[in-house]
Amino acid sequence: MVLIYRGPIEVEALLSRWYGAERNGNYGAMVSFVGTVREEGGIEALSFDIYRPLLDKWFEGWRERLAEKGALLAMAHSEGDVPVHTSSFACAIFSPKRRLALEMLDAFVEDFKANAPIWKYDVIGGKRIYAAERSTPMAGSGLLAKG
């Protein structure tokens, strides 16, 4: 299951917990990624909506894919407002050797951007504005426009 934070992720505590939990698991590599909100375009924060049932299904698919390769996947994401210079996304892959973890992290984050059911908004002047131009239609989009 994806760990969901209301607001920013407590990154230091989370990474420390992930590291501590798997340190004795005989994984030779832990590769982590943390996404931090940048100050740009006059935003105060980013804000996120999540559809949890499908996010968990999508994540479990990846977990199983990595488990088949002997690797472990962990992920956390924020819901609601995340101010600039705080973090909204963290993930880590533990694997016996580094190459697998490095490659799978890249593939996982790319697919996350395209297919995880999460919606992003800019917060400007206290208003929440959907980040339409940075968003990607999910696979199979447009089905209901047909016919």
Binding site: Y51, V109, Y121, R134, T136, P137, M138, A145
Partner: protein, 73 residues
């Protein structure tokens, strides 16, 4: 009745529609101007499973979700 929910930025409350296939739902939603503009860009799930055909049969109590373009991270 089939429940249709509109996720993320679509910002519309769920509606109940009389539909026996996903094609019926498509026809109903195309008539709603508030929703129609999202259809081209939205993916669809039935009972939390992504679907890619309008032939999906629906029964009372089923849930159809519209998922507009995403951007996590």
């Amino acid at each position: 009745m089939v429940k249709v929910e509109f996720l993320g930025p679509i910002g519309k409350s769920p509606v109940e529609v009389d539909a026996s296939t996903l094609a019926d739902v498509a026809e109903i939603l195309r008539r709603d101007p508030e929703v129609a503009r999202w259809l081209e860009q939205s993916a669809v799930a039935v009972n939390d499973k992504m679907v890619e055909t309008l032939d999906v049969k629906l029964k009372s109590g089923d849930r159809v979700s519209l998922l507009p373009p995403v951007c996590g991270g």
